[in-house]
């Protein structure tokens, strides 16, 4: 199975090959990820540099955009002070070649799309973050007891002691439930899956899957 890096997603995004879902996801990420915005701006700048260079020699011939960037970096040092503002998106050569609109219009369109998506979702993002970001909710309640080692005999294998999902910056110390607590939890889980789970087919499947994980 291939592993696709963030850089490759960015490359595909700039290439216009990401597909609508990936494009939207990238926009969502760009909105909230400073580092990714910087990479995006860098890639776009490098793309422009490559495009200019490719007029003299075919740097990108036959290769992917990312490969082209890597080759270009090897050949030319990009001055840091030339990294543009994130809104000043530059369209790389191989994208521009496929566009039926003028280069400048495409640049504005990409910038407009990013700005529109950001404007629509940033309000939701911040309101959601205000409700509870991992950082905000990480503090343990004052009246909770410290974690202690407990017997794991009753716990199912699937109900892993080591949380598979760990919130970022989550410094709350969670222990393992003791045997008595586990018994109660199992009952509550069964009750939730039967009456409260909003997923459709899956509650029953989950129930069986859990019961077979001993």
């Amino acid at each position: 199975m291939s592993h696709v890096t963030k850089e490759e997603y960015l490359s595909a995004f700039l290439d216009g090959e990401a597909g609508s879902f990936e494009e939207q996801r990238m926009c969502d990420q760009l909105e909230g990820d400073e580092l990714m915005r910087e990479k995006f701006a860098s890639f776009a700048l490098i793309g422009e540099a490559v495009r200019n260079q490719s007029q003299e020699k075919q740097v990108l011939a036959g290769g992917s955009f990312l490969k082209g960037i890597q080759d270009a970096i090897a050949d030319e040092e990009i001055p840091e002070q030339q990294i543009p503002d994130e809104s000043a998106t530059v369209i790389p050569a191989n994208v521009a070649k496929r566009r039926i609109f003028p280069k400048q219009a495409v640049g504005y369109a990409v910038a407009a799309s990013v700005a529109a998506v950001a404007a629509i979702s940033i309000q939701n993002y911040f309101s959601g973050a205000n409700n509870a970001s991992p950082e905000m909710v990480a503090t343990a309640p004052a009246n909770t007891a410290p974690p202690v080692a407990v017997n794991t005999a009753i716990m199912t294998a699937s109900m892993s002691a080591k949380p598979a999902y760990q919130a970022a910056a989550d410094d709350t110390h969670y222990g393992l439930p003791d045997a008595e607590t586990r018994g109660i939890i199992n009952k509550y889980v069964a009750h939730h899956l039967q009456y409260a789970s909003s997923t459709t087919l899956m509650p029953s499947v989950r129930a069986v899957s859990y019961s077979t994980d001993f």
Partner: protein
């Protein structure tokens, strides 16, 4: 000139999003209906983390009552066989409009799952309080052939996929009508706001979540032998159960959290009560609910 083009691109983009959202919402409604109306049998693979479980699934509608038999093929004789004539939040049509406030619905391409053509629909959360949900819905019948929950790090926390399935419309017309009637009952169990309990309130709900109420019969069941309150929070696609019991019953020794696929469980205590949260949402969302749970006193 450039300004006009700018506005035009934005408008076209928004219009396309709106259309995709409507199509996605219709497909989800069709899926919800198909799950309760169709007869289907098949093999389903359930993947959570590194655990893979293969199950035989059978769903038949007889006389308006859904009968499910689910058997694990992983060397265990465990099986669940039940008739779903009673209340389940899964049977209540969720409010699409409420859901769209916190999810953007996208329609993707088509692909083949279990040798059948299906349409990809993605419910993409607008914040970090819920998982992304990805469905592949059978084009012919509306049944979900695959379903994934993906966290905000783009990692699939849980996945269900049919590897083989046979789907039939229920032969019994009366059954279909009765099932449709059950599936289309107004969501009277959903309370748009208010306090879940006389003694407790949630000062600030995670965005998009609202209270659901467990019917008295089921509530009585959970309280059997203990003084336990149970209330539900849902955003239309994800839900959280909150169980509150007095510490005079069983004293929790730790603040504990366990996880299985998309399901998280958090147990802690507050004001001499045990608080247990169970739901298919990220743990941070549960922490938020817990922190905003306020004891009003007897």
């Amino acid at each position: 000139m450039n300004g006009r083009l700018w506005v035009g691109v934005v408008l076209v983009s928004l219009s396309a999003q709106s259309t995709a959202s409507e199509v996605g919402a219709n497909l989800l409604m069709k899926m919800n209906d198909a799950l309760h109306r169709m007869d289907y049998t098949g093999t389903l693979v359930h993947i959570k983390g590194e655990d893979v479980n293969t199950l035989k699934v059978s769903h038949i509608v007889e006389g308006g009552v859904e009968k499910e038999v689910i058997t694990s093929l992983n060397g265990s004789e465990n099986a669940v066989s039940k008739e779903r004539s009673s209340f389940s939040l899964a049977k209540v049509p969720q409010s699409i409009e409420s859901m769209k406030k916190v999810y953007s619905l996208d329609v993707g391409g088509t692909k083949k799952v279990a040798m059948r053509d299906c349409q990809v629909v993605i419910a993409r959360p607008k914040d970090k309080m819920r998982y992304l949900q990805k469905y592949c819905i059978d084009k012919e019948t509306g049944l979900p052939l695959s379903y994934s929950l993906i966290n905000n790090k783009h990692k699939a926390v849980e996945r269900f996929t049919f590897t083989q399935v046979e789907i039939h419309a229920s032969n019994n017309k009366a059954s279909v009508e009765q099932t449709a009637a059950v599936a289309n009952v107004p969501p009277e169990t959903i309370l748009p706001g208010g306090s879940p309990s006389a003694n407790w309130e949630v000062t600030e709900l995670p965005k998009g979540f609202y209270f659901g109420q467990v019917p008295a019969s089921q509530n009585a069941e959970v309280q059997k032998g203990e003084n336990t309150d149970h209330f539900i929070l849902t955003d239309g696609l994800s839900s959280i159960s909150v169980f509150i019991s007095s510490n005079t019953t069983v004293q929790p020794k730790v603040t504990s959290a366990i996880n299985s696929g998309a399901l998280n469980v958090l147990t802690s205590q507050k004001n001499n009560h045990r608080i247990t949260l169970v739901g298919e949402v990220p743990r941070a969302t549960m922490q938020s609910v817990f922190q905003n749970l306020k004891y009003l006193g007897e």
